[in-house]
Subunit: 84 residues, 2 copies
């Protein structure tokens, strides 16, 4: 059992209205030192045997991310990220 | 400028139909060694000065996660995660 993490974020040049809504809400919490909030997706893929990063990259490219507006990164989960 | 990353995932006991839909689509890609896919959110918070993890935790708790069904983790972005 091995876990691969895929982080999918909007490309920097794409506006993120959801993140902007969070920024706009922060002054109500008394927070004034945040300049930007970007909201993306984190996907955890559990492999039965060995983690297969190339396979995970293919899954991310075809099923998880929209390459027109999103970038993604694939990496092995660190040990402390793997919950029992 | 310092970046804090908040990972928000459904609690393990909560069903994730979106992740299950990805699992169901995998055989069509020829993938048969994935046992589970869980889809959560990754939020990048950019602080103007020093990163404030306690502040980020408060933002996550009040604005970003639903503590009834979601767990979250707050951490400093690693250097290689900070895009120029």
């Amino acid at each position: 059992m091995a876990r691969v993490v895929v982080d999918v974020m909007l490309k920097p040049e794409i506006l993120d209205p959801q993140g902007q809504a969070v920024v706009n809400a922060l002054p109500r919490l008394g927070v004034d030192d945040v300049s930007s909030v970007r909201i993306g997706r984190r996907i955890e893929i559990e492999f039965v045997g060995e983690a297969d990063l190339d396979r995970a990259r293919e899954i991310a490219d075809k099923l998880l991310a929209n390459p027109v507006i999103e970038d993604f990164e694939v990496r092995l989960a660190e040990t402390e990220e793997v919950r029992p």
